[in-house]
C-alpha cells in the first residue's frame, strides 16, 4: 500500500515540478543575458491561463487535432508513472521498461508530427518533417545509452537499474560512463527541442521545429502540449541525474527519507538544469543540416562508452 502511495507521490512530484524546471532554465538564461526574467511561477500561470481559454481548432483539421494533445500528454505521463524519481517503488514498476520508455516517448513524437500536418498549414509540415528527422537520428544513440546501463546493471527495468546503480554507489562508477553522460545530454537536447537543435523561444519559421508543429494549438490543447514538453524535459533531466549522480535514498520508505529525497531530487534537478541553460547561452542554434553531425557525435560517444563498459 505504501508503495502505491510513494508511486503516486513520485508521479505528482515530477509533474508538479516540471513547469518550474522549465522556468528555472529560462530564468538563468535571462539573468546571464542581463535581463530580469519572469518569476519562477510563470509556467504554472501560463498553463492555468491557457486552460481557461477556449480552444480554437482549424476548419481543415480532423479528429487528430482533437486527440493528439491528449495522446502526447499520455505518452509523457506514462513515462512519468514508471520513472523512479526518489524511490524505486514507482507506480507501474512492474512494466517500467527502459526500452518501452524510448518507444512511449516516440508515441508522443509520432502524434505531435501528425498534429503538425493536420491543419494544412505550411509551418506544421515543416515542423513535423524536422522533428521526425531529428528523432530518427537521435534514436540510435539513445538506444545505445540504454543498452550501456542495461548491460551494466543486468536489467532493463528502470526501477532495478535505479536501485542497482544506487547500490554500487557513485565511487565505483566506471569513468567510461562520462561519455554516455555527454551523449545523453546531446540526445536530450535534441529530443526536447532545445538549442542548438531548436530554439524554444522563437517563432521564426527558419529556426523552429517544436513550436512550428503546435503553432495552431490553443487553449487547453496548447496547455497540454506545453505541460507535456515540460514533463519530457524533466524526465530526461531526472533520468540523467539519477543515472549519473546516484546519491541519496532509493528504497527507504519512511517519511523522513522521502521528504529528504524530494529535497535532494530538487537539488539534483537544479544542478543538472544549469548546464542546459549554460549551453543555450553559449552557442547559437545550429543550421538544421549541421544537426546530424552533432547527433553522430552523440552516437560515437555512446558507442565508445558501451565498448569501454563492456570490455
Amino acid at each position: 500500500m505504501e508503495y502505491i502511495a510513494i508511486g503516486f507521490l513520485q508521479f505528482f512530484v515530477l509533474v508538479a515540478i516540471s513547469p518550474f524546471i522549465k522556468t528555472f532554465i529560462h530564468k538563468i538564461k535571462c539573468i546571464l543575458r542581463g535581463q530580469k526574467g519572469p518569476p519562477l511561477t510563470q509556467a504554472y500561470k501560463d498553463i492555468y491561463k491557457l486552460l481557461k481559454k477556449e480552444a480554437v481548432i482549424s476548419k481543415d483539421s480532423s479528429f487528430i487535432s482533437r486527440i493528439a494533445p491528449y495522446i502526447v500528454f499520455i505518452s509523457t505521463t506514462w513515462s512519468a508513472t514508471f520513472l523512479p524519481v526518489i524511490n524505486k517503488h514507482t507506480l507501474l514498476n512492474f512494466t517500467g521498461d527502459i526500452i518501452a520508455l524510448a518507444y512511449i516517448l516516440a508515441l508522443g513524437v509520432f502524434f505531435m508530427a501528425l498534429y503538425g500536418m493536420d491543419q494544412a498549414s505550411a509551418f506544421g509540415g515543416l515542423g513535423s518533417s524536422r522533428e521526425v528527422t531529428i528523432a530518427a537520428l537521435s534514436e540510435a544513440s539513445f538506444m545505445l545509452i540504454i543498452f550501456t546501463f542495461a548491460l551494466q546493471t543486468g536489467s532493463t527495468n528502470i526501477g532495478e537499474i535505479f536501485e542497482r546503480i544506487h547500490q554500487f554507489g557513485v565511487f565505483t562508477y566506471p569513468v567510461s560512463l562520462s561519455f554516455a553522460l555527454i551523449s545523453l545530454l546531446i540526445v536530450s537536447l535534441a529530443e526536447n527541442a532545445r538549442i542548438p537543435f531548436d530554439n524554444p523561444e522563437t517563432h521564426l519559421e527558419l529556426t523552429m521545429v517544436h513550436e512550428a508543429m503546435i503553432l495552431e494549438a490553443s487553449g487547453r490543447h496548447l496547455a497540454l502540449f506545453e505541460l507535456s514538453s515540460h514533463i519530457k524535459l524533466t524526465i530526461f533531466i531526472t533520468l540523467a541525474s539519477n543515472l549519473f549522480f546516484p546519491i541519496g535514498f532509493y528504497k527507504e520508505t519512511y517519511i523522513l527519507s522521502i521528504v529528504l529525497g524530494i529535497i535532494f531530487y530538487i537539488f539534483k534537478l537544479i544542478i543538472f538544469a544549469v548546464p542546459v541553460a549554460l549551453i543555450e547561452m553559449s552557442i547559437a542554434k545550429f543550421r538544421f543540416f549541421r544537426v546530424p553531425e552533432v547527433l553522430t557525435l552523440a552516437f560515437i560517444l555512446s558507442l565508445i562508452s558501451l565498448i569501454l563498459n563492456n570490455l
Binding site: Y70, T95, F147, A150
Partner: protein, 663 residues
C-alpha cells in the same frame, strides 16, 4: 488424430476455386472456409499434431505428400487469417475490375498454392506448388497489363523468382545427394559435412531470401507488390513472402543440424541490413503501396534479425534464449501479416475511391473517409511498434534477445549486439517518420487535387475486413499471451523445449523474460494506465479549464484563407527532403527544375524528382555488362550478314557430305 489422415478435409479449399465464375459467392465461401480452417489450425497447434498425408500419382517418382505439424499449421493459419479478411474485403473491391471472374480465379488459386507450399512435405510437391504460386502471383502482378510499368515489374519479378528457384533447387539437390530421398522428413536425420552444410545454408538463404526480399536481392519486391490489385498485394506482402521465412525455419531448425555460430550471424547481419535499407527507402517514397512494400522489406529484416539470434543461441545451446527469439520470430511474422494486410487493404480503399496511390495527389481523406482513417491509423500504430500495440511487443522481445546476445561469452557477438539494437532503434524511428509522412499527406490536411473530392467511405465489406485486422492489432498487442502461447507450442514441437513459463508471468498478464533477469512489460496494464490518465486529464480539464471549442481558419501569415492554396501544405517529397539530403550517399536522386513559358515574371516551374534504388542500379549495370558480353559473342556468330549464313550452310553441307561419304 484419427480421421484426419484422409484427404477429404482439404476439399473445401478447392470449392471456392471451382465456383470462381460467380465471384461474390466464391469470395464469401473462401472467407468462410478460411475461417473454419483458421479455427481448426488454432485448435490443432497446441495439440502437438504431426502427420503426413501422401498421394501416389501415376508417375513413379512423384508422390504428393503433405505434412501437417505445428509449424506448418502456424503459417497456414496466417494465410487463412489474411485470406478470411481479404476475401471479405474483395467482395466489394473486385467491382473495380473488368475481369472479375479471372481475378477471382487467380486470387483463389493463389491462396490455395500458398497453403499447399506451406503444407508440402517433399521436394517435388513443394516445387510444383512453389512454381504455381510464383506463376499465379506473376499473372496477378500484371493483372492490369495495359500499363507499361506493371509489365516491366512482372517480368522482373518472374526473372527474380526463377533465379530464386534455381538456388532452392540446388540446395534441395545437395540435400538429396546426402540423404538419397526427396522427402523432407529424411532430410532431418542426415549429417552433412561442414562445407556442404555451408553450401546448403547459402543457397537456401539466397533462394528463399530472394523471395522474401532480403537486402541485395530485394529490388523486385517494391516494384511487383504495389502494382498488383490491393487485395493481392496484401496477400503477397502479408503471407507470400512468409513462405520463405517458413522454409528458412525448416532448413535451419530441422534439416541442418548443429549449425555453426556464423550461420546465425550471417542471417542476423543481412536481416539488419535489409531492415535499415528497406526503411530508408520507404522514407522517401511518394507512392503509398511502394512505401508499404519497402516497409515489408524492413519487417522481413526484423524477422531475420530474430531468426539469426535464435540460430546463434541454438548453436550455443542456450535453449531458453533460443526459444525467446524463436517466439519473437513467429510473433513478428504474425504481426506483420496483420498490420501489413490492413495497410495494403487500406491503401486499396484509397485507390478504389480516388484512383490514385500517389501521396502528392491526396490529402484530407480523414474528413471524407473517417472510418478508414481510424483503421489505417491503428495499422500504422502497429507497424511503427508503438506501445501498447502488437508490433511493440515483438520488437521488445527482439530487443531483449539482443541484450541477452551481448551477454554471450563470445567477444565478437557480444560486442556487436548493441549495434544491431541501435539499428533496430533506427529502423523504428525511421518507420515512425515514414508512416507519419504517409498518414499526414494522405489523410490529414486538405486535398491536393480534385481526385480526393470524390472520395467517400468504402462500403461495409471493406470496412469489416479492415476492422477485423485492426481489432487483431489491438488484441494481440494488449494480450500477448495468446500469440506467445501458440508460438511456444510450435517451438515445443520443433525443439522439444518450452519457454512459455519463462515469458508469461502472473496470470498471463505480464510478459516477462526472467531467469537472466532483464526486463518485463505489460501492455495491458500500460493500456489501462493510458485510459485512466486520459479520462482523468479529460475530466480535470473539463472541471478546471474551458471546454469550449471554436472552429476557425488556419493561420496563414495574415493571408486570407483563399490565398492559402493547397500547395502551401508540405508535400511528401518535401517531408522527406532533410533525410534525403543528410543521407544523400544512400539514395540515387535525380532532381531537375525547369521553367516553361515566361522566363522572368512568374514563370511556371516544373520540378522533377526521381529516386532510384542504388542496389537495383548496381545489379542492373552488372547484368548489363554481362548481357553486352553475351551479345558481343552472339554478334560474331550471328552477325546478320547473308554471306556468313551462306558460309554456314556450305560448311554444314561439306560436313554432312564428308560424314556420309566416309560412311
Amino acid at each position: 488424430m484419427s480421421g484426419l489422415e484422409k484427404p477429404f478435409y482439404l476439399l473445401p479449399l478447392v470449392i471456392p476455386l471451382i465456383l470462381s465464375f460467380r465471384p461474390k459467392i466464391s469470395l464469401i465461401l473462401q472467407s468462410l472456409t478460411s475461417l473454419v480452417f483458421l479455427i481448426v489450425s488454432i485448435y490443432l497447434i497446441p495439440s502437438n499434431t504431426d502427420f503426413i498425408v501422401s498421394f501416389q500419382s501415376a508417375i513413379p517418382f512423384l508422390t504428393f505428400s503433405y505434412r501437417v505439424d505445428s509449424l506448418s499449421l502456424f503459417f497456414a493459419g496466417l494465410v487463412f487469417l489474411l485470406s478470411l479478411v481479404s476475401s471479405i474485403y474483395s467482395v466489394s473491391y473486385i467491382s473495380e475490375f473488368k475481369h472479375k471472374k479471372i481475378l477471382t480465379f487467380l486470387y483463389n488459386l493463389f491462396i490455395l498454392s500458398i497453403i499447399m507450399v506451406i503444407l508440402s512435405a517433399n521436394v517435388p510437391t513443394f516445387l510444383i506448388w512453389w512454381e504455381l504460386m510464383s506463376v499465379v502471383s506473376f499473372l496477378l502482378v500484371i493483372f492490369d497489363y495495359k500499363k507499361e510499368e506493371n509489365l516491366n515489374a512482372g517480368i522482373l519479378y518472374m526473372f527474380m523468382t526463377h533465379l530464386a528457384t534455381i538456388f532452392i533447387i540446388i540446395s534441395f539437390i545437395l540435400l538429396y545427394i546426402h540423404s538419397g530421398s526427396l522427402e523432407f522428413k529424411n532430410f532431418t536425420n542426415i549429417n552433412l559435412p561442414e562445407n556442404i552444410k555451408f553450401l546448403v545454408f547459402l543457397t537456401s538463404l539466397i533462394g528463399f531470401g530472394t523471395k522474401a526480399g532480403i537486402f541485395p536481392l530485394h529490388f523486385w519486391l517494391p516494384k511487383a507488390h504495389p502494382v498488383a490489385p490491393s487485395n493481392v498485394s496484401a496477400l503477397m506482402s502479408g503471407v507470400m513472402i512468409k513462405t520463405a521465412i517458413y522454409m528458412l525455419i525448416r532448413f535451419y531448425f530441422e534439416f541442418l543440424k548443429d549449425i555453426p555460430v556464423s550461420f546465425g550471424y550471417i542471417v542476423l547481419f543481412f536481416g539488419a541490413l535489409s531492415a535499415m535499407y528497406g526503411i530508408l527507402y520507404a522514407y522517401v517514397q511518394t507512392d503509398i503501396k511502394k512505401l508499404l512494400a519497402y516497409s515489408s522489406m524492413e519487417n522481413i529484416g526484423i524477422i531475420l534479425i530474430a531468426l539469426g539470434l535464435s540460430m546463434i543461441f541454438k548453436s550455443f545451446n542456450i535453449e531458453l534464449l533460443m526459444g525467446l527469439s524463436f517466439v519473437a520470430v513467429l510473433y513478428h511474422t504474425l504481426n506483420h501479416t496483420v498490420f501489413k494486410g490492413l495497410l495494403f487493404l487500406g491503401a486499396g480503399s484509397i485507390l478504389f475511391k480516388t484512383h490514385t496511390k500517389n501521396m502528392e495527389e491526396l490529402g484530407g481523406l480523414n474528413k471524407l473517409m473517417p472510418k478508414t482513417g481510424i483503421l489505417f491509423l491503428i495499422g500504422i500504430l502497429g507497424i511503427t511498434a508503438l506501445p501498447p500495440f502488437n508490433g511493440f511487443v515483438s520488437e521488445w522481445l527482439i530487443y531483449q534477445s539482443l541484450l541477452y546476445g551481448s551477454l554471450l561469452n563470445y567477444e565478437f557477438i557480444s560486442f556487436t549486439m548493441p549495434l544491431f539494437a541501435s539499428v533496430l532503434a533506427l529502423t523504428g524511428a525511421f518507420s515512425i517518420g515514414s508512416f507519419a509522412k504517409l498518414y499526414g499527406t494522405t489523410f490529414l490536411g486538405i486535398g491536393r487535387t480534385d481526385k480526393t473530392k470524390k472520395a467517400s467511405e468504402p462500403d461495409g465489406f471493406m470496412l469489416i475486413g479492415m476492422g477485423f485486422l485492426a481489432l487483431m492489432i489491438i488484441v494481440s498487442g494488449i494480450l500477448p499471451v495468446f500469440p506467445v502461447y501458440l508460438a511456444d507450442r510450435v517451438l515445443n514441437q520443433i525443439e522439444s523445449f518450452s519457454v512459455y513459463k519463462y515469458i508469461i508471468h502472473k496470470n498471463g498478464l505480464l510478459l516477462i523474460s526472467t531467469d537472466y533477469d532483464f526486463g518485463r512489460i505489460s501492455t495491458l496494464l500500460l493500456a489501462i494506465a493510458g485510459i485512466v490518465i486520459f479520462v482523468s486529464t479529460y475530466l480535470l480539464i473539463r472541471l478546471i479549464g474551458n471546454g469550449n471549442t471554436r472552429e476557425y481558419e488556419t493561420w496563414a501569415c495574415g493571408l486570407e484563407e483563399s490565398n492559402l492554396t493547397v500547395k502551401a501544405q508540405y508535400s511528401a517529397t518535401g517531408f522527406s527532403q532533410p533525410i534525403r539530403r543528410i543521407l544523400s550517399f544512400i539514395y540515387k536522386v535525380e532532381e531537375s527544375l525547369s521553367f516553361s513559358g515566361k522566363k522572368y515574371f512568374l514563370p511556371k516551374k516544373i520540378y522533377r524528382i526521381r529516386i532510384d534504388d542504388r542496389i537495383e542500379n548496381l545489379i542492373l549495370s552488372i547484368t548489363n555488362v554481362f548481357i553486352k558480353f553475351v551479345l558481343k559473342v552472339r554478334y560474331f556468330v550471328q552477325p546478320g550478314i547473308i554471306h556468313v549464313y551462306i558460309a554456314y550452310m556450305i560448311f554444314t553441307l561439306i560436313a554432312f557430305i564428308l560424314y556420309f561419304v566416309r560412311w
